[in-house]
């Protein structure tokens, strides 16, 4: 990797933290999708899950290799197996098997969109190596997004609608938290360095821009309203009391079984 300019230690640590979060989430999303390569309700979906899993796991390579090249002290090692590290940095709902197909569709739709938005923030940033790598990863995302939205629409129109609705309601608050609370010092450092293009709340609004219209259109109310006056999406209070800014997840809750 061509080093842009020697980063100051605090910025380097913040950048390493962001990269490991992206990589770990992609790793676990890939692992979870791979479990549906043999269990999805249709052969086409199963094959798609295998392909998506392969790509998500492949996406970890440029991220983990960038992390290694950063040489940030204490940076976590790349994951090749779930238990390679004591601590991982991903959404709690990606840490264990998805309990149902509607849950899998909701998780893919939300997590994949959130990851893409964060990568687009890097693609628009000023770190040339990261820009290039983010751009490469984003190139694969339209097919992922199309598949996820297709499954959301399909499930919303059949008897699985209540299960899908429940899964979205369960997973959305953590996904919105994932961008972090407003004014996080690490994100502020990365913004000052020009490596990320938006703050946490702007990224959260971008996620809602991407998902809310599609969910409304599919008849899936998620408690999000557009505020015409404020030109922003309004969402219910987020569970910051359960948020771990270190592991970038909310404390795992007992799951309500969904079918």
């Amino acid at each position: 990797m061509t080093r842009e300019a020697r980063l100051d230690p605090a910025t380097e640590t913040a950048l390493a933290a962001l990269i490991v979060v992206l990589a770990d989430n992609k790793y676990f999303l890939g692992r979870r999708l791979s479990e549906w390569a043999v269990g999805a309700p249709t052969l086409e979906s199963a094959v798609a899950c295998a392909a998506l899993a392969q790509e998500e796991l492949g996406h970890t390579r440029p991220l983990y290799s960038f992390l290694a090249q950063l040489e940030a002290p204490g940076a976590p090692v790349a994951l090749e197996h779930d238990d390679d590290r004591e601590r991982t940095y991903c959404l709690s709902y990606l840490r264990q098997r998805f309990p149902s197909w509607p849950y899998a569709a909701a998780a893919l739709f939300l997590a994949d969109t959130a990851l893409t938005i964060m990568l687009q923030g890097l693609e628009n940033g000023e770190h040339a190596v990261l820009r290039r790598r983010a751009s490469r990863l984003i190139a694969d995302e339209p097919t992922h997004a199309k598949f996820a939205l297709g499954r959301i629409r399909e499930l919303a129109a059949c008897s699985s609608q209540p299960a899908l609705q429940a899964a979205l309601a369960e997973l959305l608050p953590e996904t919105l938290c994932w961008f972090g609370p407003a004014g996080e010092p690490g994100v502020n450092l990365l913004r000052s360095a020009g490596y990320v293009s938006h703050d946490n709340e702007q990224l959260r609004q971008q996620l809602l821009d991407r998902i809310a219209p599609s969910l409304h259109e599919a008849g899936l109310p998620i408690g999000i309203q557009w505020n015409d006056h404020g030109q922003r999406w309004e969402y219910p209070a987020l569970p910051w009391e359960r948020w771990s800014s270190l592991e970038r997840c909310t404390e795992t809750q007992a799951r309500t079984p969904t079918t």
Partner: protein, 104 residues
């Protein structure tokens, strides 16, 4: 006396390597993004069609093996560049080959 290896001669050697999944050379598929030679070290910059391609290690091994057969090369470095790969990267010969096997 054999001539010293050049990027062009190394590229010709790379053109002999087929993708493990399709009988098309990795050069015609547009995977090879740069070739340099410094003294006896060849450096190949490569992009893959898919970041999750299961053949990555095979391709890297094939490149190393083939270039080490080139007189004057005793070290090969393969550097993945993580660039986008699209259909437009395939050469006319590559497209023709793919059409012949019913892919393109």
């Amino acid at each position: 006396m054999s001539s010293r290896p050049t990027p062009e001669s190394l590229r010709e050697a790379l053109a002999e390597i087929s993708d493990p999944e399709y009988p098309i050379s990795i050069v015609d598929l547009g995977l090879v993004r740069g070739v340099t030679v410094h003294e006896s070290t060849a450096t190949v910059q490569i992009a893959f069609c898919s970041l999750g391609c299961p053949c990555i290690e095979l391709i890297v091994e094939d490149i190393e093996q083939r270039l080490l057969e080139v007189p004057g090369i005793d070290r090969v470095e393969v550097e993945e560049v993580f660039e986008r790969w699209t259909r437009s990267d395939i050469s006319p010969d590559g497209l023709k080959g793919l059409r012949q096997i019913g892919v393109a």
